[in-house]
Symmetry: C2
Subunit: 332 residues, 2 copies
């Protein structure tokens, strides 16, 4: 039995904690909200972020991240991207060297443009860090739908450790060695999903959506290659797979944000009405900044940023996008 | 003004003929069914294959393929894949050297494993052949939804000619030089779409569907690379784009066939109830044969064939598939 701490009790953190608890591991989850701690411990549910799912009775929650990680040999980092550094800094000094830390958050830190695994490696340099990513709606994992994801790390040994921790017969984990590609794809697909939601919200059809997703993955791939990632990563589960899921599934928060934008809502209005974070909004800024830094054009990501933050009407942003002359069918 | 002949008045042939007629070209379409010829000429509609769409008044239909191509400088080949050779052989001897022949059919000839453009080049060796492909539901093209496709040919000049013939502000055509990749992707995505329909029909979720599409494109890519295609083609509009469209859109006949199979219908029952051809059924045989010839494993395509032709229940086929140990996340 492995002692596991999960930091963050959003829908994905709660799902991974529950999956590990059902596997028989001893799992403690840290929740930011006191009511979530209480609900998990007393009623085995997380009504705020995973309503309707009955959690494993062995899963316990606590309100103190340091308490959650005591004696844990595996830590799962699952806070929203803007909170990851704060949470990891909180446990700094209490983490044993060699601990496996698995990042399950898809995002880029807005201020530093750092990926989540880089923040963890910076704050906890003596740990072994992996990134878990791929097409995985939390609710479907809880329902036992077959789900395929990847665990990426800088060494095969670390990736395979992460694989062993999470793998079940219905949650299949493939090891991967391209951490940058896996994390970039997982973060930026949320921005393309917002664009797809805008198309859907404007009543556009499947033809333009398929074109948008293809061109969107092409621009993510271009940026990834500039950052040293392998182009093949973007054709895999963490790239194409997760983009299809997020941009076509009704359970996606990012796609939902795009639909709301198309219907005339502002980002502030959407945020006021939704408790869960649509990571793609912040990621659009980070993605555009990374593109500028690397000299890579990202027309779709930039247009989404204009709609989110610069007051551009969704319809105009999309019209410009579809009218733009594409240079070539290929990503390079 | 260009004189164009379109051979085949299914939904896609009719749509392309209509698009060209609306562009101002002089277009004659050959229809197999007498009632379609009459309906197009007298009522400007194709009630059998494109009901509800008002066709350009200038579009004329005829019952004789040789008459349709008289004086045409562009021929669009749009018959179902099993009929293309017969139709092209019919016009052999009546086609001027240098005529541009654009194949708009996605499929592989079952007996010879030839792609459509290869059949045309074989029967009409003095013509200039291109293949048109990409994510394009016919009805959405008729509705003016922005649509992005590729025109592939062995020389840039031919591809660019095809591009010029079809391109409008809402139907954007990119030239492409990988004919094998474009035609293979367009044909085999129909088989993966049948598999996706089976998943949907079995009530499976978005997570397994996203994984299936990713692994499906990976196996098409493996086969394509073995046949000399570029892996990048499969990440483009003719590959990923068309796969997303066909496997997630409600307008797809191939996905619809998969749903019917999951609900216990046989291929014969489905065919008896539908006039339009679901190309993916025949293509699953051709794809499996190509894989065997090239020594490339195609587990998803082979399972679809087992369900279609070997009496394997759809649920068992899928269960085997999801349980199969994947060797690696990458396509090679």
């Amino acid at each position: 039995m492995t002692r596991v701490a999960v930091l963050g009790a959003g829908s994905w953190g709660t799902t991974l904690a529950n999956l590990l608890a059902e596997k028989g591991e001893q799992v403690r989850i840290w929740a930011f909200e006191g009511e979530v701690v209480e609900a998990i411990n007393q009623r085995h549910e997380n009504p705020l972020f995973l309503p309707g799912v009955r959690l494993a009775p062995g899963l316990t929650a606590c309100a103190d991240a340091r308490e959650a990680i005591a004696e844990a040999s595996v830590i799962v980092s699952a806070a929203p991207s803007h909170a990851v550094r704060r949470v990891i800094e909180r446990i700094r000094g209490n983490v044993k060297a060699g601990t496996l830390v698995v990042s399950a958050t898809k995002g880029i830190e807005t201020e530093t443009l750092a990926f989540m695994s880089a923040i963890i490696a910076e704050c906890l340099p003596e740990t072994r860090v992996a990134a878990l990513s791929g097409p995985s709606f939390a609710l479907e994992v809880c329902q036992g739908q077959p789900t395929l994801v990847v665990a990426a790390a800088r060494t095969d040994a670390i990736a395979e450790d992460a694989q062993r921790v999470f793998a079940t017969s219905r949650f299949r984990v493939y090891s991967h060695d391209d951490v940058v590609g896996v994390e970039l794809a997982g973060a930026l697909k949320n921005v393309i999903a917002i664009a797809a939601g805008i198309l859907d919200g404007l009543g556009m059809g499947h033809n333009p959506r398929a074109a948008l997703l293809t061109r969107g993955l092409a621009e993510i791939t271009r940026l990834g290659v500039a950052l040293g990632a392998s182009p093949l990563t973007f054709a895999g589960l963490a790239g194409m797979g997760d983009l299809i899921l997020t941009a076509t599934g009704d359970l996606s928060r990012n796609r939902g944000l795009g639909v709301a934008l198309a219907q005339g809502q502002s980002l502030e209005q959407y945020r006021a009405a939704h408790r869960s974070v649509a990571e793609g909004a912040n990621t659009s800024k980070a993605g555009a900044a990374l593109g500028a830094r690397m000299g890579v054009e990202l027309p779709i990501i930039e247009k989404v940023g204009d709609v989110l933050f610069n007051g551009k009407p969704a319809r105009d942003g999309l019209a410009e996008l579809m009218a733009r002359e594409l240079k070539s069918e290929q990503w390079r």
